[in-house]
């Protein structure tokens, strides 16, 4: 019996109809029973993981104007189900933040962007935008350029923090602070040097990527995704492109898949190298930073060979990749694959058995297995807490099922476990690269070029010019691809965790709604849990250990 049937049997009228699109099940439920349904799904059906929660504005004139979308996952059976609640403008929905604590920030974001209020939420404030901001940007009737005649934010609005106790000191850390890894702000409540509570404040880098995406064609959205996790752009590109391909129902050729794997695994290594360098620097070991940047530089040179750009490549295309690999790339990559293990040993030599490193990381910022799942934490943090979960194995994409690699798992869930997990992940990525170089198949690099992506320039204006390619070029420039009506969620295992794109298509050339499930944001939510009772210095360790990147946190 499927989820829909058992829900129908248990809740009867509260369950609306169900839809299926590209293998994803969507069930409409009534808002009165939402909380009971969620509790039942969590406790009886084992849907212990809330992947995502977001809002959709169906349009100004519609009777049930808003949809709140819940994506649930059973981590044992790998089943996923999407619940939807439809409400009218002004109606309230029950909070699920007491069912899954991770929903707290999700619901604040939905409130921030759509103005949907959640009944029973503990602190329903704006997540990204300042408190004195007017309007809800992701509503369809909100102008894309905002209201330019008025200045909403004059600063200082988000300084209202109520201390938990009256004998404590408030210390403001960030947004201008050397070790919050960007413009993150954390308000610390201290007793001496011990942390009573921490309150992360995000939004200083909010660019409204989700709103911007609604104004652009599917292909034009791609460069926006580079700017999310700007330390690993290929991962973001891949997640987005896979989502669009799923929406279109196409598959790229094998060679393109392999090239994508190579690029994203390099991205994982590059991202982890930055993490290691900055994390060690936060703890005071400045030298590792320079070592990791040396290797990262090499990866950027590899990327430059392939994509022409070092930082924001935007190299993937719908149905493939932009160009084939240049000749010099494979030897250069082989060299990297051969030398890299020695470099990791070098970092480990400086840190792993270093007494000071051990006392600074062991037992610091511990996250238990249960809390990690409750808080929706993903990526190396989840694995560091002892959950063997990797999307590359759980829902293989882009040909990952053809590679042999291990999922490193930590035992304790402290900073040191996460450190070991990430180091091992770098080794495993190198293993994947090695296999990819050996097995790299020949063949085309695009699925039906011209139809889903720009045709070869030579065919448009060159020796092989033909009218068909010219028409394709014209069509691509004017409108790009037009996927069918539907909605998909596609996630990849990005270096920071589960990066997912939820795209709703209304059949036009632009996404009707694009939702980014950014791992950094959701992982960051667990920060207060990690640092309570620790020292000021451990906040820096914990932030470094979560490995956030603000471009992704603030979207």
């Amino acid at each position: 019996m499927g989820i829909f049937e058992s829900l129908k049997a248990r809740f009867g009228e509260a369950i609306g109809d169900a839809r299926e699109f590209r293998g994803e099940e969507t069930i409409y439920v009534s808002k009165e029973y939402l909380k009971n349904i969620c509790l039942w799904l969590r406790d009886v059906k084992g849907f212990n993981f809330l992947v995502d929660l977001c809002g959709v504005d169906r349009g100004v004139g519609k009777t049930d104007r808003f949809e709140v979308v819940y994506l649930l996952r059973n981590m044992d059976t790998r089943e996923q189900v999407r619940l939807k609640v439809r409400i009218r403008d002004g109606e309230r929905v029950d909070t699920v933040s007491d069912v899954w604590p991770t929903a707290n920030w999700h619901e604040r974001e939905v409130y921030d962007m759509f103005g949907i209020e959640f009944e029973g939420h503990s602190n329903l404030e704006r997540l990204y935008l300042p408190d004195d901001y007017e309007g809800f940007p992701l509503r369809k009737d909100y102008p894309v350029r905002g209201d330019t005649n008025r200045i909403f934010y004059e600063g200082g609005a988000k300084t209202k923090y109520k201390p938990k106790r009256n004998d404590t000191t408030i210390l403001n850390m960030g947004p201008q602070h050397p070790s919050t890894h960007g413009v993150l702000r954390v308000i610390l409540e201290l007793e001496g040097e011990t942390i009573v509570d921490a309150c992360p404040i995000v939004g200083y880098l909010h660019r409204g990527t989700e709103k911007l995406a609604e104004q652009k064609t599917y292909f034009q959205v791609l460069p926006l995704t580079d700017r999310l996790d700007y330390l690993a752009p290929p991962s973001n590109n891949l997640a987005y492109i896979l989502a669009v391909e799923k929406l279109l129902g196409i598959e790229p050729p094998a060679r393109a898949k392999y090239i994508r794997v190579i690029m994203t695994e390099l991205a994982r290594i590059a991202s982890h190298l930055i993490w290691l360098g900055t994390h060690a620097m936060d703890i005071g070991a400045a030298t590792v930073f320079l070592y990791t940047f040396r290797e990262r530089e090499y990866i950027y040179e590899l990327w430059e060979m392939v994509a022409g750009a070092r930082f924001h490549q935007s190299y993937f295309r719908i149905g493939g990749v932009k160009e084939d690999l240049p000749e010099e790339f494979i030897p250069a990559l082989k060299k990297f694959v051969d030398t890299f293990p020695r470099k990791i040993d070098e970092y480990e030599g400086l840190l792993t058995n270093n007494k000071i490193w051990r006392v600074r990381t062991e037992g610091v910022a511990v996250l238990s297995k249960e809390d990690a799942i409750r808080y929706g934490v993903t990526g190396p943090i989840l694995r560091g807490s002892g959950v063997k979960w990797d999307l590359r194995k759980a829902y293989p994409y882009s040909g990952y099922e053809e590679f042999r690699f291990e999922i490193p798992v930590g035992e304790v869930g402290d900073t040191f476990s996460r450190y070991l997990v990430r180091l091992e992940e770098m080794r495993q990525s190198r293993e994947i690269l090695k296999q990819a170089v050996e097995k790299l198949p020949d063949g085309p690099i695009k699925f039906e070029p011209g139809k889903y992506s720009f045709p070869d320039p030579e065919e448009v204006k060159g020796s092989r010019a033909n009218i068909e390619a010219l028409i394709h070029q014209f069509k691509q420039v004017i409108e790009g691809v037009k996927p069918p009506v539907g909605e998909v969620y596609q996630a990849v295992e990005a270096p920071k965790g589960e990066l997912g794109f939820y795209i709703v298509s209304d059949g036009s050339e632009k996404p009707y709604r694009m939702r980014i499930r950014s791992p950094s944001l959701i992982n960051l939510q667990a920060l207060p849990l990690l640092v309570r009772g620790h020292k000021v210095a451990d906040v820096v360790t914990a932030i470094g250990s979560i490995d956030i990147v603000l471009g992704e946190v603030d979207k």
Partner: protein, 121 residues
């Protein structure tokens, strides 16, 4: 010739020189540097936002405990200096006396430890 003056006179001269060095350096800097203050520039550092509380903050009692401990042990350590210099002439009697002293010091130290004064929470 050399010992014609007290050995402390050079120290005095040095103190004068050291203070002079500090003052003159700051003075020169004051003469040559630019000066263009405005209120934001002069506000105390609080990571880019307006200070949430006045700068003089509540501090942990632990700091005072450390100071008290230091006073106790430092005063006792002071007794050791003259003893150390005269140690050889004092012979074994000096050793026993100081051993007793150190043992008493140790008892106080262990007491402080057991009371949790050495724990930083």
């Amino acid at each position: 010739m050399y010992q014609a003056i007290s050995p402390y006179v050079p120290v005095l001269i040095l103190i004068l020189l050291a203070v002079l060095f500090g003052v003159v350096t700051l003075l020169i800097a004051w003469l040559v540097r630019p000066n263009a203050p405005y209120s934001e520039k002069l506000s105390p550092y609080e990571c880019g936002v307006e200070p949430l509380q006045p700068g003089k903050l509540r501090m942990s009692i632990r700091f005072f405990v450390i100071v008290l401990l230091f006073l106790l042990f430092d005063v006792e350590a002071v007794f050791m200096y003259p003893w150390a210099v005269m140690y050889k002439p004092l012979g074994w009697w000096g050793f026993i006396e100081m051993a007793l002293f150190v043992i008493i010091l140790f008892v106080g130290y262990i007491y402080a430890w057991l009371k949790g004064a050495l724990e930083w929470e």
